[in-house]
């Protein structure tokens, strides 16, 4: 079972896209897109460190992404304008990672796989990580859904209801880092944010409640993953960028669809 590399690729892409679609809703609602970018760019540094120390890529990326995410989280609590700092950290980590990768002794490393993803080479172990992580992410969001939604609407409203919005934000931060670690194999460091925000942004046009938007975002993510893989196989293009192209296409259609008579959903 799962011997076919295409089947494995499809499962990996769908699993990642569904998890990213769900989490992406919060990224869009809370305007964390740039934050996602910074975390994703740091992933390249994680790749370099993992190769240097001979650990698994997912672990290396996960740890570096988590460090970056927590660092930004604590900075954002200080009331400083994080925009510039995010830019410095994001591109600093990316540049450092690119330099570090070339310093890794041994054979030259094909960076493309980490920048644009290499879903056709996923192993069964990768699949286990992706789906295990995905189920965990859905579980955590399910468990915290109402509290997180309240904190997203208004931090003071959350406080008055006895919810700590900073804690909710930290959970999201950690989840973004986890998605980055998993998604780097599928779409690569440069396009992870796209996988987070585009399905969610497309889902906005059809949804009247947050839950529906989350559901549509997951569905659109899965559709993009499968469509992108199909395209990539047909035209012999890179899978990661192809998935994002399909997602963008769906987004464009959804925006046009907004001006058509509304569906009773």
């Amino acid at each position: 079972m799962l011997d076919d590399f295409l089947l494995r690729a499809a499962l990996a892409a769908v699993g990642t896209a569904v998890a990213a679609g769900l989490l992406g809703c919060f990224v869009v609602w809370r305007r964390m897109a740039y934050f996602g970018d910074a975390t994703a760019h740091a992933a390249v540094l994680g790749v370099a460190l993992a190769l240097l120390f001979g650990t698994s890529i997912t672990l290396g990326v996960g740890i570096v992404a988590l460090c970056m995410a927590v660092l930004i989280h604590s900075l954002s609590g200080q009331g400083v304008a994080v925009d510039t700092i995010l830019g410095v950290l994001a591109h600093g980590a990316l540049a450092l990672g690119l330099v570090a990768v070339t310093l890794v002794p041994g054979q030259r490393i094909d960076l493309d796989a980490y920048l644009f993803g290499d879903v056709l080479s996923v192993t069964r172990a990768d699949l286990a990580v992706i789906w295990g992580g995905g189920v965990l992410l859905v579980g955590v969001l399910w468990w915290h859904w109402s509290a997180m939604l309240t904190a997203t609407l208004n931090p003071d409203l959350a406080h008055a209801a006895g919810i700590n919005p900073r804690r909710q934000q930290l959970i999201l931060t950690v989840l973004v880092a986890a998605v980055v670690a998993v998604a780097i194999k599928v779409v690569g460091a440069l396009l992870i944010t796209a996988l987070l925000i585009i399905p969610a942004a497309s889902a906005r046009s059809f949804a009247s409640t947050p839950e529906r938007m989350a559901f549509f975002a997951m569905a659109i993510g899965a559709l993009s993953a499968l469509g992108g893989l199909r395209l990539a196989v047909h035209f012999d293009t890179q899978v990661g960028p192809s998935i994002i192209c399909v997602a963008v296409l769906i987004f464009a259609v959804s925006r046009v669809g907004k001006y058509l008579p509304r569906l009773p959903v």
Partner: protein
């Protein structure tokens, strides 16, 4: 029973002192109004009381298990977040549909359930916030300039609604306002705030107090007095919109 007790709290940010040695308490069933000019730290005080901010000095004690129905000054909902009134009322805890319908009626906006929050008018929006606060079955209803953006008749109607709600629920009400002429008469106690507590007591006592007259002038009792205050009154050290 004492619901909230704040003692000697100091709070500032960015080197600016917003509140200095403020002590106040709220008892069960009481209606207390905090009045003060813009930038006097009213919203900051409220946020300290609900626990959104931590005092730098002093303490805030809330009765254990205290349920707060909080109506913020304004609530910006990101346009990317679709949410109906019904869904909003179910946050953070799900409520029975009947209770939600009832709360909307109590707040004076029956039948809005299926509307998107983003499509509501300013008055409707504030009332939906009130309905949500009621649904928490609160011990205390906290309103932060809840009538901002409403016209005079609109805000008068809103405060009548509050009075009715309080009769229904028997909860305490803590209001922040600068529309004193509208809210004062209904209050058991008025706290006049300007970075520190200038004076407090029953509406009659406060209206007669020199500190209050100095702040708000006499007779006009409206926006005019407030504006004049902003420019000529000088025992405040911060005229900025610190935490409004």
């Amino acid at each position: 029973m004492r619901l909230i007790d704040a003692r000697h709290i100091d709070f500032g940010h960015g080197g600016q002192r917003v509140l200095q040695n403020v002590s106040m308490s709220l008892d069960e069933g009481e209606i207390v109004t905090i009045v003060g000019p813009n930038g006097s730290g009213k919203s900051t005080l409220l946020r300290l009381l609900i626990g959104a901010l931590k005092p730098q000095k002093g303490s805030v004690t809330r009765a254990s298990g205290l349920r707060i129905g909080y109506v913020p000054q304004k609530l910006h909902i990101d346009p990317t977040l679709p949410i109906t009134v019904a869904r909003f009322l179910n946050l953070p805890k799900p409520v029975p549909a009947k209770a939600a319908t009832e709360a909307l009626r109590t707040a004076g906006v029956a039948g809005l359930d299926r509307q998107q929050m983003s499509q509501l008018s300013g008055g409707q929006f504030q009332r939906v916030l009130l309905a949500r606060a009621i649904l928490a079955n609160p011990h205390v209803l906290m309103l932060d300039e809840a009538t901002q953006g409403l016209d005079q008749p609109g805000s008068a109607a809103f405060y009548r609604q509050i009075a009715a709600v309080r009769q229904d629920l028997g909860c305490a009400v803590l209001m922040v306002s600068h529309e004193l002429h509208v809210v004062m008469s209904a209050s058991d106690r008025v706290i006049c705030l300007n970075g520190h507590i200038c004076c407090e007591g029953t509406p009659e006592v406060v209206t007669a107090a020199p500190a209050y007259r100095e702040l708000f002038g006499t007779g006009t009792g409206g926006a005019l007095a407030l504006y004049r205050h902003d420019h000529d009154h000088d025992h405040s050290h911060h005229h900025h919109e610190a935490a409004e």
